[in-house]
């Protein structure tokens, strides 16, 4: 009885009408799609642009927080997105510019080199883990690897600030500590997410490329030397 009432709520106006052969019935019959009752959830086309952007930004920010406190959670895995990795990659590549003798080929990595290393490296690591029999999907793995670059990007920002103060031995020591800590954090965070998707006898084979990947990025950050 209750189900019938629920089902007939859209037709509430018609429940009192007795239908005989000649009476014409007027009105709109709207059939609900699925189980949702509210139409405005589906017409995201009508919402203000600010809300659309904020929703995505909130999702990205939520994942950043999950990287900061890496515990086994499905937020990164289930609702993957690649906005965060793109944002982090571009930020890191931009921060690595302006180094010593950019035009000279003796300098640090170019923007394109950083981009290629991060994305191509992530793709290769993902392929590697899938070929070794991992159960994680391609884009989920890209998402995790990209988001876990966040500690290294923060370290890069800190390094640039430290370098403003000078580039002597003390600043190098500080930068070394910061980069090492963030490299360890990145590796730990990503293996927390990726490690469970591998059979136990191959876990080290999957973790090692991730370690190498973040090591290379950490090296690029540490060797950034400002132009004088």
């Amino acid at each position: 009885m209750a189900a019938a009432d629920d089902a007939s709520r859209p037709f509430a106006g018609l429940s009192d009408v007795s239908i005989s052969g000649d009476i014409s019935v007027e009105g709109d019959i709207s059939v609900p799609v699925g189980s949702s009752r509210r139409d405005d959830e589906y017409s995201t086309l009508d919402e203000p642009v600010k809300e659309t952007i904020l929703r995505d930004l909130r999702a990205v920010g939520n994942k950043f927080i999950h990287v900061l406190y890496p515990k086994r959670s499905s937020a990164l895995l289930r609702d993957w997105d690649l906005w965060g990795p793109l944002l982090l990659c571009v930020t890191l590549a931009l921060l690595l510019q302006g180094g010593a003798a950019d035009s000279d080929d003796q300098g640090g990595p170019q923007f394109a080199e950083v981009f290629v290393i991060i994305w191509f490296g992530s793709i290769i690591i993902t392929l590697n883990s899938k070929l070794l029999g991992g159960t994680i999907s391609f884009f989920q793995s890209l998402c995790v690897l990209g988001y876990c670059i966040m500690p290294l990007t923060v370290a890069m920002a800190v390094c640039r600030i430290v370098l403003i103060g000078g580039s002597g031995t003390v600043s190098f020591a500080v930068r070394l500590v910061v980069v090492t800590a963030s490299f360890g954090w990145s590796t730990f965070a990503s293996t927390a997410f990726l490690g469970d998707s591998q059979p136990a006898n191959r876990k080290a084979l999957v973790v090692y490329p991730v370690f190498l990947f973040y090591f290379v990025i950490g090296w690029m950050i540490l060797t950034f030397s400002p132009s004088q």
Binding site: A100, D104, Q106, P109, L132, F215, V216, S225
Partner: protein, 307 residues
């Protein structure tokens, strides 16, 4: 009177039984002419005997299980095909790495460690690690050797990574292609003891490069005599892995060809090691510490180039 097909099939079983009893025995690999149809890099090792004369499908599958051959399933455009090349565990990879740094005269690397389960994990990641270790160590050694020079400004020299990657990957993939093609061509004319498949050749070359990773890290230490000692040791170890692997295959050939082949392998390997050392680990030309006091003006005008 048994039909010729039955006779062939019985021989096949006997060979399979003999082989399963003694896996170390050398086998004759009759690769059927449709090997070329399977896209390059196919198939297991020398124990994978395929006799298309037998109509008995069951017999063939059974024998390949007995022989432990790894057949890549699917065509080369499917994912499963490449999955079969990553069918290794951590323990196996570590075992193979250990075998590449401790070559013993009796042990053929392929027969002993790879045993018709060649993998691409080892060669690929060893090459990648070697690329970065050579580039990073070279950069560090340049920095250390120029540390005393007041006009030296540290440069990351990131272009070296690109160069190292090109050189090492070309060596690790083109040389095995050439060597495998050459050996297959030589054997094609003489039906010798089974040669190695393409993947096994790539595997041996990849694992033999492993010794250069710790060597390149140790090259940071700025003593020339130490660097040359290390390079000789590394070349001896990894060269002997290659020679021990390829000598049994080549030795049935004419003496001249056998020696020439092995010599080419060793020479190419040497060129790689020495080339890496010369390019990435250039020794600084140390200005002799002056006994007589020199004016500071001289130091200022000495502007060393980017190298």
């Amino acid at each position: 009177m048994a039909t010729p097909d039955d006779l062939q099939f019985q021989e096949f079983e006997e060979a399979a039984e003999l082989l399963s009893a003694d896996p170390e025995a050398s086998t004759l690999s009759l690769s059927a002419s449709d090997n070329s149809a399977r896209a390059g890099g196919g198939g297991g090792g020398s124990e994978d005997v395929k006799l298309d004369l037998s109509d008995d499908e069951e017999g063939q599958e059974e024998s390949s299980e007995l022989l432990g051959g790894q057949k890549p399933s699917g065509g080369f455009w499917t994912f499963e095909y490449y999955e079969s090349f990553f069918n290794v565990d951590t323990v196996q990879v570590l075992d193979r790495v250990k075998g590449s740094v401790l070559p013993l005269p009796g042990r053929n690397f392929i027969k002993h460690y790879i045993r018709s389960n060649p993998d691409l994990y080892g060669p690929f990641w060893i090459c990648v690690t070697l690329v970065f270790s050579v580039a990073i160590s070279g950069n560090l050694s340049t920095f250390i050797s120029k540390m005393g020079d007041p006009s030296y400004h540290y440069r990351p020299q990131f272009h070296r990574v690109t160069i190292a990657a090109v050189v090492i990957f070309m060596y690790a993939w083109l040389v095995p292609i050439g060597l495998w093609g050459f050996l297959t061509w030589r054997q094609g004319t003489e039906r010798q003891i089974g040669g190695y498949s393409f993947l096994e050749t790539v595997c041996v070359y990849g694992y033999s490069l492993f010794i250069y990773i710790p060597t390149s890290v140790l090259w940071i230490i700025p003593f020339e005599w130490l660097r040359w000692t290390l390079i000789v040791v590394a070349m001896v170890i990894s060269g002997s892995v290659l020679v021990l692997t390829f000598w049994p295959v080549v030795r049935e050939d004419t003496k001249v060809m056998a020696v020439a082949t092995v010599a080419t392998i060793v020479v190419l390997h040497t060129l790689l090691a020495i080339g890496c050392k010369m390019y990435f680990f250039q020794t600084a030309v140390h200005a002799p510490t002056p006994a007589a006091p020199t004016t500071p003006a001289i130091h200022m005008t000495l502007t060393p180039g980017p190298h």
